[in-house]
């Protein structure tokens, strides 16, 4: 069940981060789009966590060390470019991963077949904004490059083995690198580095080793639920 937990936590945590944008987005259309993506991810999280146990117990009553999400998805929103870079890296991974899972016959194939349609939309959204910001103004170009560079080191983790997740990781990695490289180049951005050097932080989130902002995020997310043990909502 590690795989369902890992994928469920990815979706749960990224959904939460996107939810923090509500009321703060640069245009109204993005209020709608970011909330839409957050909702899709929350739906995926609920399905995946329910494969493991009670969704609320898992979301609200686990400590930081028991979460299995990638460090990438727990990264703070930063400016809009950071959010978009995070979306680009993750949605490209998720689409390729779910594409493989949908084609297979694991317990995830049904879920993946549904989710891959949502994720295709997320990826398109991230790519379009990468192009606008990368090939927009000098300021947006610089911000987008900075965001891509800053988050690059978290990408290696996506291609580490996950127990119970039967995918061709090499194919996943080369397809991901090709897709992201193409978009970054079209956006007049520089690919931060080779995929290999991005891997130094790899594996930590999947083993319950997270970055510092994550604990604070969980404190906020879990506080009300934990304050009323046993209550239903």
């Amino acid at each position: 069940m590690t795989a369902a937990l890992a994928l469920g936590d990815d979706a749960l945590v990224l959904s939460h981060r996107l939810g923090e944008w509500a009321g703060h987005a640069p245009v109204l259309e993005e209020e709608v789009a970011l909330a839409n993506i957050a909702l899709d991810l929350l739906g995926q999280a609920r399905t995946l966590l329910s494969l493991v146990g009670d969704e609320d117990e898992l979301a609200y009553l686990r400590e930081e060390r028991a979460f299995r999400n990638l460090q990438l998805v727990e990264q703070p929103n930063g400016d809009f470019a950071h959010t978009i870079a995070r979306q680009l890296y993750f949605s490209t991974y998720q689409r390729l991963l779910y594409g493989q899972l949908a084609a297979g016959d694991s317990e995830f194939s049904g879920l993946a077949a549904k989710a891959v349609k949502e994720v295709a939309y997320h990826q398109d959204h991230a790519e379009q904004w990468t192009l606008r910001l990368g090939d927009g103004t000098a300021e947006s170009h610089e911000r987008m490059q900075r965001a891509c560079d800053a988050l690059w080191r978290f990408t290696g983790e996506m291609f580490q083995p996950v127990e119970g997740l039967d995918v061709d990781r090499e194919a996943l990695r080369s397809a991901w690198l090709e897709s992201v490289t193409t978009v970054l180049k079209r956006a007049t951005l520089t690919v931060p580095d080779t995929a290999d050097t991005g891997a130094w932080a790899a594996g930590a989130g999947r083993q319950g080793l997270h970055t510092e902002p994550f604990g604070r995020m969980l404190a906020e997310m879990q506080h009300l639920h934990r304050s009323h043990p046993g209550a239903s909502w």
Binding site: G23, E31, V32, L39, D56, Y60, G136
Partner: protein, 344 residues
């Protein structure tokens, strides 16, 4: 002299045609002639309605990251997303009258246009999310259902779509409060406290009493408004009393009782001083709400400039190195002095 007479005659023909259309309950459409005051009044009301949707996202978004179950979190996110969508419909509808969204947002940010006074109250507990759904959305629906028959077509059609979604939100808010009311003693207390704090501000959403409402008579004559503020407020109280009983919660008004003779509930006096204070900008969250909105807009300026610059490059078929763009929506540096216009 002749020209003036001809012009006046043409204007009065237009006016007569407009009056006849309104009298016959026909819809006025964007390309139809309309009196300047009618246009201005609609722009004011519709823009403020749009602003209310946008500012109204804040008190609820305040609880998205703390929602106590994943189901409730999904419902709340969907609701806040709907509100952004309602804002978009309403800005579009207002644009049919010749205003632009950027211009209207500029007026919101500089305080020249208002939003509903209710959103200047803070959401202090999770139960507030339910109280907003039940009472605030309930009051909004009571106000807005008659607007589905408003004389201006684009506004009426926007309201049909919005009211459907609002009714859904209201039921969800009621159901949230019901779960709390029937939950643990601490949850019940939380629900009661939220209703105690939101009841009177919700009654204020219907605007000043009829004898103090600046725009009511004209709006009713134009069939923008169909019922007076006090009529709608009474209707709302009559709807809420049995709902509060079903919830197992009380309404914070010792003077609230059924009046057999009138066939309505009598209720206590509203604190109109509080209402005018909130409207003037002195409510608990006025400063915070508008600052957050302005900050989101200002922080997002570089993103909007990037999108415009990118679109321009695409349009001219240019590519290559990014360049400095002069594109701006012109509303990011609004510095006009705030003009407080006390209206509702």
């Amino acid at each position: 002299m002749t020209a003036v007479t001809a012009g006046t005659a043409a204007a009065s023909t237009h006016q007569a045609r407009f009056d006849a259309a309104v009298a016959a309950d026909e819809r006025i459409e964007p390309r139809d002639w309309m009196p300047d005051d009618y246009r201005a009044s609609l722009v004011r009301q519709m823009a403020q309605h749009a602003h209310s949707e946008i500012i109204g996202m804040q008190p609820e978004a305040n609880w998205i990251t703390r929602a106590p179950s994943l189901r409730r979190k999904a419902i709340l996110m969907a609701k806040v997303q709907d509100e952004a969508g309602h804002g978009l419909y309403l800005y579009s509808a207002t644009e049919t009258l010749g205003a632009s969204r950027d211009e209207l947002l500029g007026k919101l940010h500089s305080g020249r246009q208002k939003y509903s006074s209710i959103f200047n109250y803070p959401t202090l507990t999770w139960a507030d999310v339910g109280a907003i759904g039940w009472l605030v959305d309930g009051a909004a629906i009571t106000n807005q259902v008659p607007l589905c028959r408003c004389s201006y077509g684009p506004y009426a059609r926007a309201m049909v779509r919005i009211c459907k979604e609002e009714s859904f939100h209201q039921r969800q808010g009621y159901e949230l409060l019901l779960a709390l009311s029937q939950g643990t003693p601490a949850q019940h207390e939380m629900a009661q406290d939220a209703v105690d704090r939101w009841w009177w501000p919700s009654l204020m959403m219907f605007g000043p009493p009829d004898d103090a409402s600046a725009h009511s008579a004209q709006s009713m004559a134009w069939k923008i408004k169909r019922h007076s503020n006090d009529e709608l407020r009474q209707r709302f109280v009559d709807i809420c009393v049995p709902q509060a009983e079903a919830l197992g919660l009380t309404l914070p008004d010792p003077d609230l009782r059924w009046n057999e003779e009138r066939g309505h509930h009598d209720f206590g006096a509203i604190d109109w001083d509080e209402f005018w204070q909130v409207l003037k900008g002195n409510g608990p969250c006025n400063e915070q709400r508008i600052s957050q909105r302005r900050k989101a807009h200002e922080d997002g300026a570089w993103v909007r400039e990037a999108a415009a610059a990118h679109a321009a490059k695409r349009a001219f078929g240019r590519s290559g190195a990014p360049h400095e763009s002069a594109a701006s929506d012109g509303s990011g540096t609004e510095s006009d002095e705030a003009q407080v216009e006390a209206t509702a």
